[in-house]
Symmetry: C2
Subunit: 345 residues, 2 copies
């Protein structure tokens, strides 16, 4: 592979830092810098911050790459990346491109993170469009189901979805050690005739083996199947994936809010307090801070997108996952998995 | 209005029965017939069953319209309705069309229920396509948020979505007495630039007042906003709506399943038992049996689609809602609300 000519390999690569966007996220820079420092102090992982000098708070002994600008949560991603060339996000992506970092982590503007990674790192060979992959927890198996695309591409074609299947399977294999990930297509019925032309074409391509001999396509799943462990990877377009993911978040928040209200009633509180030690481990398993964040797949470098309200715990997990996947060869595995896909005739 | 020439009006209409498909649903005919009998025995609502003679169990004193065929849950809706002209679903829709019933209720094959209603009752004037409207409960206001389309049309155009907004608002006004329903568009961000061309065009049409002077468009909402009461009507295409609705169902089932497991542990059970009286009213508020079912809007008659696993309680609610909306003039209100919509130029 001729990609990343400037990129070190072997031990030199493993010694590279993970670059962390200190300016991105609702709780930046405080929680971001705290998480980065914690990783650097407690593990062998090297961490470098990127941000505006003097605006990052106490960065301790961490090395910093200066970036005068910040792309805000409400900035238009495309315009932000084009106009703010000295922003923390653009500089972070450049550090990965230039072989100065093994991976980047940001809890900032998702669209701008994606645009920075795409424009600065570039796509892997054959990749039509990168996709955002997000883990969805379930109770049936110890690893989550990975949903992609969660919003990188509002509009998709069937060949893009087949590549999402290839990338999702390669990611699950690396991230969770699942040998033969089961890949399903999100639709509105199990039959191959269900859905829009996009789902019908994608189903036909995957059923015909267009995803390659190593890809196990298990057919369509529906929205109610996310949590039942019937697939390891679920693919869909970025509009539907984003709606589905946010619907899960909203439903969980609604139900947990209602339960918290009920368990907080004066006449119930004492009883409820006895239950919290039993409920908390489950609640923790759902906390996005503990899952390591979403991953941008298809660019020439590791890019972890932590959620906007990331705490230092989320940042620690995101950096750890980014490091492990970079050293573990995620990018090489993705490059090997993706093939050119011809549309349905 | 020249529709339904054969249809009685006034007191004669109010005396018509609600026809109930005795053969449709996972628990048909037992639970369906039980619910229908309960309504007939305990209220002033007239109920007529439609089904295969001798296969409906004990129908008591209820009048029955015979139908020799059944469209099964797995039958293709289009083929089923075309080939099984003497099916309970087709006969039920014909009873409404012919002025022999005020409304129809089925817990059977959703696609076939829709196809029967569409092909036999026909569309209301100007309606491009009917849509399935489903209530989503929330804790912020006493009435639910209505989501449409929940699966009648996998592919939609912007003018269709504008009509869904018109019909959804008219429905919420009739069903829940909300004077000025707030209508939102489901997308992947609040800005009008977010989403696919369908969302951008629909947003532009609604923001320009194409929905009419009485329609209050409050902008885009995201998947996480379903339960927060920020809109009374949420419109989307039938693919996305179906995925979102089933994602909510799956998420609720996942969380309730996990909680039931935890609260059932031997060391917890005694404490948990004391909480159930507090938890049950909330659980009941989420039970689809209690919400009256989904409604097909845009056809020339009232058609309630109860969920596939409907119990007699669900059937009682569905019949009651169907009756109240038929007598309350839902169809007339929908006909008055829908206008021709020109596409964005």
């Amino acid at each position: 592979m001729a990609r990343g000519g400037a990129r070190p390999t072997g031990e030199a690569f493993a010694a590279l830092p993970v670059v962390v966007d200190a300016m991105g996220g609702d709780r930046a820079p405080g929680e971001i810098v705290a998480g980065a420092r914690q990783v650097a102090e407690q593990t062998d992982i090297n961490v470098t911050l990127v941000g505006r000098p003097g605006a990052m708070g106490d960065t301790g002994d961490l090395p910093c790459i200066p970036a005068a600008e910040v792309i805000g949560m409400d900035d238009d991603p495309g315009i932000g990346v084009r106009k703010k060339k000295d922003s923390s996000l653009v500089r972070a992506a450049e550090a990965v491109r230039d072989g100065k970092a093994m991976a980047m982590v940001s809890a900032g503007n998702t669209g701008a993170t994606m645009a920075s990674a795409l424009l600065r790192m570039g796509r892997l060979p054959h990749v039509i469009r990168p996709a955002i992959a997000t883990p969805v927890p379930n109770l049936k198996q110890p690893w989550p189901t990975v949903l992609l695309d969660c919003g990188a591409n509002a509009e998709c074609t069937a060949p893009m979805l087949v590549q999402f299947a290839q990338m999702g399977a390669a990611f699950v294999r690396k991230r969770y050690g699942v040998d033969q990930p089961r890949v399903a297509l999100l639709s509105i019925g199990e039959e191959k005739s269900k859905g829009t032309p996009l789902e019908k074409e994608t189903h036909a391509l995957l059923a015909d083996g267009s995803g390659g001999p190593g890809l196990e396509f298990v057919g369509n799943v529906e929205g109610r199947d996310f949590f039942d462990g019937s697939a390891d990877v679920i693919i869909t377009d970025g509009f539907t994936g984003n709606v589905a993911l946010k619907t899960m978040e909203g439903t969980l928040r609604f139900l947990i809010g209602a339960l918290t209200d009920i368990l907080g009633r004066p006449e119930v509180k004492e009883t409820a307090d006895a239950l919290y030690p039993h409920l908390l481990p489950f609640a923790a398993s759902l906390d996005p801070d503990n899952t390591g964040g979403a991953m941008l797949l298809g660019v020439d470098g590791v890019c972890v997108i932590s959620h906007g309200s990331s705490s230092s715990v989320a940042v620690v997990n995101a950096i750890t996952v980014a490091h492990d996947l970079a050293v573990g060869g995620l990018v090489e595995a993705l490059a090997a998995a993706v093939t050119p896909i011809a549309p349905v005739e």
